[in-house]
């Protein structure tokens, strides 16, 4: 059986693929965090008013996914209680040692940003409710109930400054994941300085697509009209970032093919055989080219909002699947070629094991549950629904 999974010459320590579907999930989730945060910054920092309905919702989405971002790693570790040691005794010559600190710094920024943008609502709720709710909201307000206009104005200014720090740290959080792969010089499929920026662009793409899907789903569940101006504006940004993303991804392949270094034979085999379908089929065709054309049509067609809504939804579903395929192709693809450069391996995911598909599905469902809880405590619906009514 093993013979079918291995081709050519591989080293003894390669016969088992160590980084499993959980390690595919980790950059996927951090990417969604970075993308959602950057989508909210379009309003908070760059003042794109049309994004306002989803700006606070995007922050909550970023937080929900951020809280789960380290879980695939902890489950993969097998000894999750040792995970904290990366913060207690970080080995500074390893890029991985930065994770705990970068993650924590970003978490602080996101929590502060959410707190400032929801503070008015929190204080109002604290003052109008009783019992445990009053206690909950009062503690969330840190027992400081000043919501005079001047204070709120200052809060807004401060939140903006935070968002300005937040963008580079979101970029850093995700670019760093790409850096870890890009820095593995022994692996020709990973080792490229383009890796951080490719990861970042696909992160933004997946984050915006997910945000659009969540927005549409939330509005459908709450039986409220969708703000098409906001939706189409998000779709427009998605389209722009898709172009940047595909440019970088193709640039990497083209320069690899043109330079044709000693590793090109194994890269060709990887792209034509091992990950041929997931790379050309899912990552590029389904995940980028089809959404690219659909979103182009969305910007060309006039009126017909329902058709556009369907086209945008389909594009976003394809994009989130395509970006998952991209993470798969990087993480699994890189391990399917042998360091000998004349052999390949095959990763067969298990379903029930600790490194299997089932824990990956469970971990991926958690952010949605967290988002449900967080939006119950801090409802962002007011922005979404008020804006739509104004338009109507």
């Amino acid at each position: 059986m093993l013979d079918n999974l291995i081709w050519g010459y591989v080293y003894p320590n390669e016969s088992e693929i160590q980084w499993s579907i959980l390690i595919v999930l980790y950059p996927y989730i951090t990417g969604l965090v970075a993308g959602a945060f950057i989508a909210s910054s379009l309003y908070h920092v760059f003042g794109k008013k049309e994004i306002k309905p989803v700006a606070r919702f995007a922050l909550l989405t970023a937080l929900s996914f951020l809280l789960v971002a380290m879980m695939p790693l902890l489950v993969h570790l097998g000894r999750p209680e040792r995970g904290i040691e990366i913060m207690f005794t970080p080995h500074l010559t390893s890029a991985m040692s930065g994770f705990g600190y970068i993650f924590s710094f970003y978490l602080i920024i996101v929590v502060l940003e959410i707190w400032l943008s929801f503070r008015e609502d929190i204080v109002k709720k604290a003052l109008s409710s009783h019992g445990w709710k009053e206690l909950l909201y009062s503690s969330l307000a840190l027992f400081s109930f000043d919501i005079s206009e001047e204070t709120l104005h200052n809060d807004e200014k401060f939140a903006r400054k935070l968002a300005i720090i937040g963008i580079p740290s979101a970029a850093f959080l995700h670019g760093y994941v790409g850096f870890i792969f890009g820095g593995i010089k022994a692996n020709p499929w990973w080792s490229t300085p383009l890796m951080p920026i490719i990861f970042l662009m696909s992160a933004i793409v997946s984050g915006i697509a997910l945000l659009i899907l969540l927005y549409i789903a939330a509005m459908k569940i709450r039986k409220h009209a969708i703000d098409h101006k906001c939706l189409q504006s998000l779709a427009h940004y998605l389209w722009i970032f898709l172009i940047l993303d595909v440019t970088l991804e193709l640039l990497e392949i083209i320069s690899m093919k043109y330079a044709s270094r000693e590793d090109i034979d194994i890269i060709n085999r990887l792209l034509s055989d091992k990950i041929g379908f997931t790379f050309w089929g899912i990552q590029l065709t389904l995940g980028i080219f089809i959404p690219f054309i659909l979103l182009l049509l969305v910007s060309l067609i006039k009126k017909r909002d329902t058709l556009k809504l369907i086209m945008i939804s389909v594009s976003c579903i394809f994009v989130v699947i395509g970006v998952f395929a991209m993470r798969w192709n990087v993480v699994i693809g890189g391990q399917e070629i042998s360091k000998s450069l004349v052999g390949t391996l095959t990763y067969v995911p298990e379903f029930f094991s600790q490194e299997g598909v089932l824990p990956a599905i469970i971990i991926f469902m958690l952010p949605f549950i967290i988002l449900r809880v967080v939006t119950a405590i801090l409802p962002p619906w007011k922005d979404m629904e008020e804006e739509t009514q104004e338009h109507n």
Partner: protein
Amino acid sequence: MQPHLKRAFTLLALVIIAFILVRSLLVPDSFGQYGWYRGDSVNEIRNLSVNYAGSTSCGEEDCHKIIYSVWVKDRHKTVNCETCHGPAEKHVLNAREPLEKANESREYCGKCHFKEIARPEEFPQVDPETHGEDLRCVYCHNPHKPWFV
């Protein structure tokens, strides 16, 4: 600074101080003494009791001389007695201390002899699905003289 921001930053400062405190409690004092590990572990490992006696001690005292003389000349001479029979130091010091039963399972032999692509071709390997049905390997092979079927 406004009072609510002051409170938020005080809370943040408290969290950071708590982290530093917990870290100073949990990181062992001898960490980093010699390198990126707990310095005391060197002494602790040195003071661990010896469990293995080495293969020569099995054949030395006329105890298991015959089986030793068979093993030492055959293909399995690179596999120490204690690899299958378990740690023997206590048994060597006091013959009344029994040894654990030797591991005779099919999977245990398979750790070296089940077919694996990464092993050198000339190394004896079998496909567990087609070779020997489900019998234990020792049913046919003598582990002390493996070609003696």
